[in-house]
């Protein structure tokens, strides 16, 4: 299959899935919930209800509820991967593997801290029907080297094996996690560039935005929290996008203010008023960047239908939606007010619902 034929069915699936994205009214109902039970009942009335079938909504814990909600992501990724043509399907598969990478980091941290499997298990993202790494066996080795050996044959093995001696020298997992990140996004970019025609251009446009965001956030974090020099920051970033050139990274390394640098890349982003807390500012930057991407993603939904663009846009929108749902659920469970999480909502409907209330 190729072209319209190969993307035709996928396009139909994307349209159907789009119709099930939550509206601002849905978010408003969820935000009004005063307990996780009320939240569960409101959620059951949406497309997420299918993941709550069989659960006792009166008794379900917020942890379980969050886990069930997140199952939508692997389900949709698998659906689109299976319907997409080969090269596009490979890219979708690897994009989902970001969750596997996050799980791997959780496992490695757990091993480093000496945690047992029961504790680590609760922190893992559901992988659905995607075959994944032997996480339980890794945790049970209780040793980083042995755990890494269990991943032999996977894409993660070589970067981890190469970085392991530094973990012993430095006493932190920092270099290992960076090696994994760099390796992962390099693979994603490589697969993106392997696409052809409109697939390639659309995918590059969407993924470049993520890569830019990563480079920017990483550079700020490395400079401000890890006190790395410019060369180290350059080595620890990807550098694929011209929007975040090395000169910008060098300026960040040398202490330039974000407020001075950001207009050079994103003139349309307004950061929060100047505050001293770097963590606060960094979170604010990340949210601002992700909100900006929302508009781009929604635009791509109406782009050329017989390409990967629509599927990717939907999947990224879905991820943002689930992220917001998780945040709202946690806030409801902890009894936090709307004002505490409103600044961090990313998806447009969620932000609208919060603003209207």
């Amino acid at each position: 299959m190729s072209g319209a034929g190969s993307f035709g069915v996928l396009n139909v699936r994307v349209r159907a899935a789009l119709a099930q994205l939550l509206t601002s009214a849905d978010f408003a109902r969820l935000m009004r919930a005063e307990s996780s039970t009320a939240f569960a009942n409101a959620l059951a009335a949406t497309a997420y209800g299918e993941y709550l079938v069989g659960s006792d909504l009166q008794e379900i814990s917020s942890r379980r509820l969050g886990y069930q909600m997140r199952k939508r992501i692997p389900e949709k990724f698998k659906l689109f991967r299976d319907y997409a043509p080969q090269a596009a399907g490979r890219l979708i598969d690897v994009l989902f593997r970001l969750y596997e990478l996050d799980n791997l980091k959780v496992v490695l941290r757990g091993i480093n801290l000496g945690d047992k499997w029961q504790k680590v298990l609760y922190l893992l993202f559901p992988m659905g029907e995607f075959k994944s790494l032997p996480f339980q066996a890794m945790v049970e080795t209780a040793d980083l080297g042995s755990a890494i050996a269990l991943t032999a044959g996977s894409e993660y093995y070589e970067p981890m094996r190469a970085a392991l001696p530094r973990v012993a020298q430095e006493g932190t997992l920092f270099s290992l996690e960076v090696a994994l990140d760099l390796n992962y996004w390099t693979r994603v970019w490589s697969l993106t560039n392997a696409l052809k025609g409109s697939d390639r251009s659309l995918a590059r446009e969407l993924i470049a935005v993520i890569i830019e965001r990563n480079d920017l956030i990483w550079a700020v974090r490395y400079a401000r929290f890890h006190h790395l020099n410019e060369a180290e920051i350059i080595n620890y970033t990807l550098g694929f996008s011209p929007k975040v050139p090395d000169s910008l990274l060098i300026d960040i390394a040398n202490g330039s203010s974000l407020y001075d640098l950001l207009p050079r890349i994103y003139p349309d982003i307004q950061l929060e008023p100047r505050v001293d807390d770097m963590t606060y500012r960094l979170n604010g930057l990340e949210v601002a960047l992700q909100r900006r991407e929302q508009s781009l993603l929604r635009n791509k939904l109406s782009a050329y239908p017989f390409s990967i663009g629509g599927a990717l846009a939907y999947l990224f929108l879905l991820e943002d939606e689930v992220r917001d749902l998780t945040m709202i659920l946690e806030a409801v469970s902890l009894g936090l007010s709307r004002s505490s999480y409103q600044p961090y909502l990313i998806s447009i409907p969620a932000a609208q619902a919060a603003a209207e209330s």
Partner: protein
């Protein structure tokens, strides 16, 4: 078994010890607790000697291993002299030092070869670099980092140092790694190292004395490797020479040390009196005369006393000599796993030899599967390979179980799960479930009755007459059980005309006896008080114990019904695989037979294991628990002078 006591003066220590150690039928008891102060010093000295011999023995055995010799076979016992460990160590110091020296030299040379190979591996990626190492190392103004890194990060690495006065040269690329040389000003060495690390560059640390280009160094490494290999060959030849010249001598020393240790360890178990030594042990009655004569022949001052088992005190516990041969010996291990039989107790090994295969066969009846099992048992029994050696003794058990399964296979008419191929000599379990369950219930009743009878025999041998007459596992319990069985059969099959009134009367009488067995036993055995914890407590206790006995009758009897149940299940499982085979390939082609084969393998493995466990359970918990108290200890005669045929 006879208890032996030997008393002798200190001057005869060596001769008596030799005589005792040479005996193959004498088990020594540890009397060292008798030792007072001077005895304690003697024991401490012996222990110290023993430790010394033990250490020397390990060292010599290790040397023998390292020169490629085993420990060989011991000399005849008469040649062994017990000498001080220091003397042996001194006599053999030269030889041991020579061997150790050669072995150490071999080890060093081998390590050197490994280092050379490693260095060769490190340098090979850089062999294209036409720069002498000394020109880039330890320079006053230049700093270099040489190493390998992920090839896909090299471009980024170059970008990261674009503003720095560094040069990055890719020397080689293999698979996903590039060999890289980074050069820069020495004043920025720290910075360079940090940046190199951030690029995941694994730097290579080379020895300072390396001079020349990588290619030149590799040539010298190859030359040195050849020299070291020649040296290694020479050393191995020297070791061969030592083995040939001194191997036998070293083996002889080994045995001298080993047997000296064993003799010293024997001595540590002696009781030390004021001027004499006391040795206590056990010997089979048939050997006691010859043993006594051997000892008395040493000197009239050696006093030997024999006490037969019938005259021993109540708290004396002679060891038990279990001496089964042939296939029965395989079951001995199963019995001793439960417990070692007490001295005055029936050894259930022969019974287990009969009942275990019978029960197994009844549950696993199939001609073909039984035959395969028997063959597997034969293979296991005859196999001499190291991997299966520890399972060799189980071979006989598996053979017998297999043969029994074959016999029952003919009775049930089943061969490899096929029930239409041969006609059953008795009946098919799955088609006659009620019948097979009743038969196995009856068989269970027979076995339980046998167990009860054995309990009576044991009680009689041990002189526990109260237990014999009144206990739930005694005569009263047996008659009560038979009465109940008679009543059940009488009610179920009234036309047999069984004397139910007699059974009822017997049940009432024996039931009452069992109910009050506790006090009756104490009455007969003249133990007072009759009610240890008071009358009321006794009545409550007796009631519950009686209830337990009654429940035990029912549960133990019904437990044997599982034999029939498993026979049915075995047939049922076979039928399931037949059905699956037909579903896979109704035309009984290749697919059909594949499923049949898989099914038989599954049944052999999985069900075979389950049936074995059930059989063991029936033996241990239903059968043994009725009469077998165990708690004995095995007869372990000394083997100090009786060395194994092969070196240990």
């Amino acid at each position: 078994m006879t208890q032996v006591t030997i008393e002798f003066p200190q001057s005869l220590l060596k001769q008596v010890t030799f005589a005792v150690a040479r005996s193959a039928d004498f088990q020594i008891e540890d009397m060292s607790s008798l030792n007072k102060r001077q005895g304690a010093e003697f024991a401490a000295e012996a222990l110290s000697q023993s430790a010394g011999f033990s250490s020397l023995e390990s060292e010599i055995r290790q040397l023998l291993d390292q020169i490629g010799l085993g420990t060989g076979v011991s000399n005849e016992a008469e040649d062994i002299q017990v000498t001080q460990v220091e003397q042996i160590a001194e006599n053999t110091a030269g030889l041991r030092a020579e061997i150790s020296q050669v072995l150490n030299a071999i080890q060093e040379t081998e390590k050197h070869l490994v280092d050379l190979k490693q260095l060769q591996g490190l340098l090979t990626p850089f062999q294209g670099l036409d720069i002498a190492f000394e020109s880039i190392r330890n320079r006053r103004y230049l700093f270099s980092v040489l190493g390998t890194m992920p090839a896909d990060r090299l471009e980024r690495f170059r970008e990261s140092v674009a503003r720095s006065p560094f040069v990055i040269l890719e020397l080689d690329k293999k698979a996903q790694r590039s060999s890289v040389l980074m050069l820069g000003p020495r004043s920025q060495s720290e910075y360079m190292l940090r940046v190199a690390r951030s690029a995941y560059l694994d730097s290579v640390e080379l020895p300072d004395d390396l001079k020349g280009t990588p290619a030149e160094i590799l040539v010298s490494i190859r030359s040195e490797t050849e020299d070291q290999q020649k040296k290694l060959t020479t050393l191995h030849q020297r070791l061969d020479d030592i083995r040939q010249r001194h191997g036998a001598q070293l083996q002889q020393v080994y045995w001298q040390v080993r047997l000296s240790r064993m003799l010293v360890e024997v001595i540590t178990r002696y009781g030390k009196l004021k001027n004499d030594y006391l040795v206590v042990g056990w010997i089979p009655r048939s050997r006691q005369e010859a043993f006594g004569e051997r000892l008395r022949a040493i000197s009239p001052n050696v006093f030997v006393t024999f006490v037969p088992d019938t005259e021993l005190g109540a708290n004396e516990s002679p060891p038990v000599k279990l001496n089964h041969q042939g296939p029965i010996a395989s079951f001995q291990k199963l019995v001793t796993t439960y417990s070692v039989p007490g001295y005055n107790e029936i050894d259930p090994t022969v019974l287990m030899f009969i009942t275990f295969p019978l029960l197994f066969g009844a549950m696993f009846g199939d001609v073909g599967q039984g035959a395969l099992l028997a063959l597997a048992g034969v293979f296991l029994h005859l196999n001499r390979g190291k991997a299966l050696k520890r399972y060799q003794k189980m071979g006989a058990i598996i053979v017998l179980c297999g043969i029994s399964a074959v016999v029952f296979g003919f009775l049930y008419g089943s061969i490899f799960g096929f029930e239409e191929t041969i006609k059953p000599l008795w009946e098919r379990p799955i088609d006659n479930i009620t019948s097979i369950l009743l038969v196995t219930f009856a068989a269970g009743a027979v076995l339980l009755s046998l167990a009860n009878i054995l309990s009576l025999i044991n009680a009689a041998k041990q002189g526990r007459w109260g237990y014999f007459l009144f206990n739930g596992k005694g005569l009263a319990g047996l008659l009560l059980y038979w009465s109940f069985l008679g009543l059940i059969v009488g009610m179920a099959v009234p036309h047999l005309g069984l004397p139910t009134r007699l059974f009822t009367l017997t049940a009432l009488i024996t039931g009452t006896l069992v109910l009050f067995s506790g006090v009756l036993e104490r009455l007969l055995e003249r133990k007072r008080p009759l009610f240890e914890s008071g009358l009321l407590i006794y009545i409550i206790q007796a009631f519950f114990e009686f209830f337990e006995v009654m429940i035990g009758f029912i549960s133990n009897s019904l437990s044997y019904v599982r034999v029939g149940a498993f026979a049915v299940a075995h047939a049922g499982l076979s039928r399931v695989f037949m059905m699956l085979a037909e579903m896979v390939d109704p035309a009984t082609g290749a697919g059909y037979w594949i499923v049949i084969v898989i099914g038989n393998i599954f049944i052999l493995g999985f069900e075979g294991m389950i049936v074995s466990i059930q059989t063991l359970r029936l033996e241990y918990y239903e059968f043994f628990s009725k009469f077998f108290r165990g708690g004995g200890r095995m007869f372990r005669p000394m083997r100090a002078m009786n060395t194994p045929k092969q070196g240990a």
